[in-house]
Subunit: 203 residues, 2 copies
Amino acid sequence: MALALVDEIGRDAFSMRKLGAELGVDPMAVYRYFDDQEALFDGIAEAIFAELDVDTLPWDGPWRDLVEQYSVRLRDALLAHPHAVAIFATRPLRSPAAIATGVRTVELMTGAGFAAGDALRILRCLREFTVGHALGLAVLRLGGRRRSRKPAPDAPEYNLLARGADEADDGDHFAPGLAAMLDGFADPAGRSGDARAPRPPRT
Amino acid sequence: MALALVDEIGRDAFSMRKLGAELGVDPMAVYRYFDDQEALFDGIAEAIFAELDVDTLPWDGPWRDLVEQYSVRLRDALLAHPHAVAIFATRPLRSPAAIATGVRTVELMTGAGFAAGDALRILRCLREFTVGHALGLAVLRLGGRRRSRKPAPDAPEYNLLARGADEADDGDHFAPGLAAMLDGFADPAGRSGDARAPRPPRT
DNA sequence: AGAAAGAGTCTACGCTGTAGCCATGACTTC
DNA sequence: GAAGTCATGGCTACAGCGTAGACTCTTTCT
């Protein structure tokens, strides 16, 4: 499986020839099933999307729970394949399954009173934040090269950034960020109203 | 200039040899200045960051204006180089200039009452959303291949997603998303009133 | 004067994506 | 059974890639 090989050796080291070798098959045989490497990467993106298992999302609950769950699952699925996040992030993903999920979500949100355009805007924001987060985190975790060499707490150049980095883990801002964005969308005028899921306390 | 060449022919078509040809120089000459292609791409990312011209940001105003301006400028700079967005998004950017900007921003936010860790979390969220947005948009705009073939409004398969896409342009959700996230961070308890008051100290 | 450093060039190696053509076996249609 | 079609995989070959290593030429420092 192409995704597994990318997970193992990374996107840069990946090649059609190695994929063929992994499958015990001539490299050119892969081209029977995919037009070219781009198409194969499209398949990888779809495979990651399939791991979301969108059917088991809380489709019957409030829209906020649904999109929050969706975002968390997407994040987790992406971080499970750090070497493939960039592949996922750099293509549109117009597979029927993805489109169907999008339609279903917009339907649910229009049912909750959103205009279709507004619903789509919110979903795009969430997706972009989630993908951006996963990509940034994957890059950080993989980028083994020269590590950040953060100054020690008693060093003179120990600045606020370093202290902030000590206080904040690399990935623990996703849930707060997601909640903040949803809060902002749910309550755009600052008025409190109907559905406001209780936010998990930060830290 | 490497960035200009990437802008022109795209990242995939880019090669050290073509860069050398563009500069009217032997391809290997580039290796005098950059260890390898990765280091050169690091330089491209730094060049994009330099275009932000962070010194002219509203450093004397409220933190929210600052980070909002910063995000908008980052988005604009990235979208000005659609072929290079993926390059920017897939490396950590630890240049001195970028670190100094981060330190300065965190300083301003702690001055406004934030804990350093919380400030850093907020900045990370904004950066990830911004980069994710620019990347998604660049991919959409460049991905010429099979266009989306959205169904016509009177076609039977004209669904809510298509209607949403008609109502919402590709890129017009960035400002609302940014505002929503900032609203959410400024008013984390969901209570209306004097927004943008930082949270009481954590733990 | 010589030494050292910097800049650019040339060659070569192992790797890449993939076009084109051929071999094989299974299945369909007479 | 015979003949044709089709899916699958193998092999070869080509143009291009990143870059290691050794070389030359020019400028600057002592």
